[in-house]
C-alpha cells in the first residue's frame, strides 16, 4: 500500500522500469492496475505518459484481481503492480485466478526485507511469498537489477501462455532501501 511521508526511494529504478515497460508493450499488456508504491514510481510514470496504456488506480489491491478477471473475460491483457503489503489484501480474491484458471500477472515491489527501517512493513513483507504460494501463485524472486526485465518477461509469458497466476517479487535490495533521512 502507498505510504505517505517525505521519504524517497534512493533509486527510482531507471533501468529495470524501462525494461519492464518495454516487455509489457511487446506483449500487449494495455492496462496496469495499481495501488502505488515508491519502488514503482518510474514504471507508473511511464504508464501514465503512454496513450496506449491505461493506468487504473485502485482503492485496495484485491480490486485489481477482479479487474484483471474482467479484462481477460473481455479478451484484453492487464497486470497488477503493488507493494508487498498489498499481496495480503489479495488473498481471497486470488480464488478467482485458481477457479477461472485465468492468467494473472503481478509485479510486486518488496518491503520489509533488505535494510527495512519500518517495522510495520516486516510481517507482510516476510510473509508475502508464502501467502501468495498458499493461493497457488507462482512466485519469481528477483534481487539483481539486470535480471528484472527478463524475469518479468518470462513471468508474463508463463502467465498468459499457460493461464496461471504469476508474481514477480522485486527485492528491496534491487529497488533501494526507503529512508526518511534528508
Amino acid at each position: 500500500m502507498a505510504e505517505t511521508g517525505t521519504g524517497t526511494i534512493t533509486d527510482a529504478g531507471t533501468d529495470w522500469s524501462d525494461e519492464v515497460f518495454a516487455a509489457m508493450r511487446a506483449r500487449g499488456i494495455g492496462t496496469v492496475a495499481t495501488v502505488p508504491d515508491g519502488g514503482l514510481t518510474r514504471l507508473l510514470n511511464l504508464c501514465a505518459a503512454d496513450n496506449a496504456t491505461r493506468l487504473v488506480t485502485l482503492t485496495t489491491e484485491e480490486e485489481g484481481i477482479g479487474l484483471l478477471a474482467g479484462l481477460w473475460l473481455g479478451g484484453k491483457r492487464g497486470m497488477l503492480a503493488m507493494q508487498s503489503s498489498g499481496t495480503g489484501n489479495c488473498i481471497n480474491a486470488l480464488s478467482l485466478c485458481a477457479t477461472l484458471k485465468m492468467p494473472c500477472l503481478m509485479l510486486v515491489t518488496m518491503r520489509g526485507q533488505w535494510g527495512e527501517f519500518n517495522p510495520w512493513q516486516v510481517p507482510m513483507g516476510q510473509g508475502a511469498r508464502a501467502a501468495m504460494e498458499a493461493m497457488g501463485v507462482i512466485c519469481f524472486d528477483v534481487d539483481e537489477r539486470p535480471r528484472i526485465g527478463e524475469t518479468f518477461a518470462a513471468a508474463a509469458d508463463l502467465a498468459f501462455d499457460s493461464s496461471v497466476a504469476v508474481a514477480v517479487m522485486i527485492g528491496q535490495r534491487a529497488i533501494g532501501t526507503k529512508s526518511f533521512a534528508k
Partner: protein, 189 residues
Amino acid sequence: MNGLDRRELISELLARRGDALVVTGLGSPSWDCFAAGDSAATFYLWGAMGLAVPTALGLALAQPERRVLCVTGDGEMMMGIGSLAVVAAQQPANLGILVLDNGHFGETGRQEGMTSARTDLAAMAAGAGIATTLTVSEPSEMAQLAALYDAPGPVFAVAKVALGDHPLTLPERDGATLSRRFRAGLGVA
C-alpha cells in the same frame, strides 16, 4: 414485507438486455439472473465477494462497444464499496451497476446488513463520484432502471427488494467452464 420482487425485476430487466454482457455478484443475484434464462453472455460469480464491480469494470474497459451490466447484492457491494471510486475515476460510459438491496445477508441466515441500519448505497455511489444514481422501491418506478442500458455510464441503481423465498436455481459452478464459455461467446477465446 415491503419491497420489489427480485425475480420479477431481474426477469423484466434481462428480457431487455439485447447484446449486453452481464456480471453477477455471488449468491442470490447469480441465482436470479440464471432463473431469468441462462446465457453465455452472463458471467456468474460464486465467490470473490466484493469483486463483482471490479470484474464488470474490467470487462467494460475491455469491451467498450458493448453495454456491461453488473447485478449484485447490498452485502457484496458494501464489501467492495471502494471500487465505486475506481469506476468513477475511469468513467466507463458502457457500465451499469444494479444493486438488489434487501438489507440482509441472504445466503447466510438473513442477518441484517448495513443498509438495514443507516447506509444509503446510492448516496455512497454519488459520493464516490458516480454522477447518475437512482433508487427504486415501487413497481411504478421500475421503468427508471432502463437507465442501466440507455443512460451514459457509469450508472448506479439500487432496487429495494423484498426478502422473498425463491427456489434455488443454480447455474454451472465451474469457473473455468463459465469463463471459457463467456470468452468463446465473445469470440476472444
